[in-house]
Symmetry: none
Subunit: 201 residues, 4 copies
């Protein structure tokens, strides 16, 4: 008496019945708590209590607290997903990089970026998810813009644009994660100056 039409054995929750109220409350609570204390102080129990939610409800939908933050950033940070194209490459890069620098300089955004990246060091799944859903889309948009510039003869033809993206953005992450100096507007200017023109005479 096989009933292949009723698949669910027991373990897959039905997303249709999911409570949006609970979902939002959890995302909010996670971001709030991450802002109030450092990422390491973030706990599932803390999120559940703040959100007024049972722990099971969290575990039903997310595999880890990093996954919650990830979803929160994905949802809340969708606005930064665009890349200007005014025709002036350097200006466009400056605009976009400044936007990133400002985000990194904001305590809240910095808090959960750092938390997420810290979590990624111990969890390959998180690492992959961060790259795929946060980093990659933005890198791709940047490459797209650079490709146009390269076609227009504004950039050397022998360079890999993914490498250039790294060269431009890595210093921002460097300061964010290594806490050597704060991420500022002037850093963006300096990076562009050096990376585009080169350090040698």
């Amino acid at each position: 008496m096989a009933t292949p039409s009723t698949p669910a054995p027991r373990s897959a929750p039905n997303p249709d019945r999911r409570s949006e109220r609970a979902r939002q409350a959890i995302l909010d609570a996670a971001l709030e708590l991450c802002g109030e204390q450092l990422y390491a102080g973030l706990t599932m129990e803390g999120i559940a209590k703040r959100a007024g939610v049972g722990k099971q409800t969290i575990y039903r939908w997310w595999p880890s607290k990093a996954a919650i933050l990830l979803e929160a950033i994905e949802e809340r940070g969708r606005s930064t997903l665009d890349f200007p194209d005014t025709g002036n490459l350097e200006a466009d890069l400056r605009t976009q990089m400044t936007q990133v620098a400002q985000a990194f300089a904001s305590p809240l955004f910095a808090a959960y970026s750092k938390g997420l990246i810290a979590a990624a060091q111990s969890d390959p799944d998180i690492a992959k998810a961060v790259v795929d859903s946060i980093i990659k889309p933005r890198v791709d948009l940047c490459i797209e813009r650079l490709t146009k510039a390269q076609s227009a003869g504004e950039l050397r033809e022998d360079i890999d644009l993914a490498d250039l993206v790294e060269l431009l953005y890595a210093p921002l992450y460097y300061r964010l994660l290594l806490h050597t100096r704060p991420v500022t507007q002037s850093q963006v200017d300096t990076i562009l100056n050096l990376a585009l023109t080169g350090a040698t005479k």
Copy 2:
């Protein structure tokens, strides 16, 4: 005849009586365990058991497991504290950056570097210690070498050398921490090519 070097600070353990055997066993155990599992799986109890040491002995001398790793790296990694000077700037940079890249590619070193930086995201003390005792000394050596080059007219005079160091090394950290691509020799070549010559035509 009061000597200004009054020794005892205040109810702190006496370093003269410290057991070097225990200290080495703890550093060894921490590195071994960090290599076997990810940093997040590292526990004080695990280190104590592996080292055959009481937990109090660890807490007496280190405030956190990150501090243990830090000391281990400081001690074991002292050899990398030098910067070549053959007269050829680009070659010297390539030599040194390659060394760093190789370290980042080694599973053990990567494990505790990543662990340490992850911990720094949630603990300003760790962050400061990482910068002061690991990053800063090496950056300073690099700046020293770059200063010579700048004086010799090999580099533009209008650039801040600390910024240049960031531009060169940040992409290595970027890949290490963001797990986009592996850190390789060819990355070093690419960085040098781009950073020294510039991306524009």
Copy 3:
């Protein structure tokens, strides 16, 4: 329709959700361990491990290991809560005191009685609980029997019966706790002989 029996006191665990399995396992483990080693060797961790229970589950319901033993005795020893009344006072006392003497002579019962009383010396809460839930009920039953006897003219009317109870039972505790001589049947006989008749000619 507000009911005056407002249930939740304040952030206390909910007894309705309590696991009876865990409770019994903990009581059993505590008694077993107390029988195997002396009370001083009894540890919360040992009980938890033996019972296959998390430590928190113990701390959630009992404030100390003495409280566990107390509950175990209360529950297991409920059968001894009765006092014979055959009409013959001396015989009834002998019956009841013999029962107590036998219990004191049993290694297991002696172990936790002694442990509990020892703990009471350093913890007023335990002391109060021992008196209220173990001693008092049994003393009251004895006083009740003695009251009948006094009314029947079998005892002097000028004596306080609580004092008489003390005189009868104290020597049993004396030997139990001071380890001078074992508690035996003949001790009971001697006490009754002396206490009822008097030592003087």
Copy 4:
């Protein structure tokens, strides 16, 4: 090359070289601490610190903290080692028992009596030492006095005097250890009244 004239292998400390200053400081500290907090709060480290003494010095001369208390009581409490003999048995008993009752009512003495007896429940050595050095000598003196009275025809000849001593003193210990009611002068009167005359009409 046997040198039987130099016996000491390594383990027996030489009492001649013992520091009386340290010994007194340790006894004082133990009594003080036992008075300030309950016996369970008494620690070897606490005693050592309070006495300004190394822990080794304690362990060299005493096997346990109970042994320290025992020695302290033996030394300080020697004064109570005497028994009056005015010719009036009941008066003499009252005098001596009152003295004991007063000691039990004193917080300090009660504290370490209770501590010592508590410790005896978990350590047969302590139990034996308490009986031999504290209880027995005093019981013997009492028996001695009672023997005289029995010979003088003041007591029944068929009674064991050790049993009578128990009957008289046990109720004092009962209240001391079970914390039912305080030990008072009137309790002494009651005990004597009941024990000497008997409870029956």
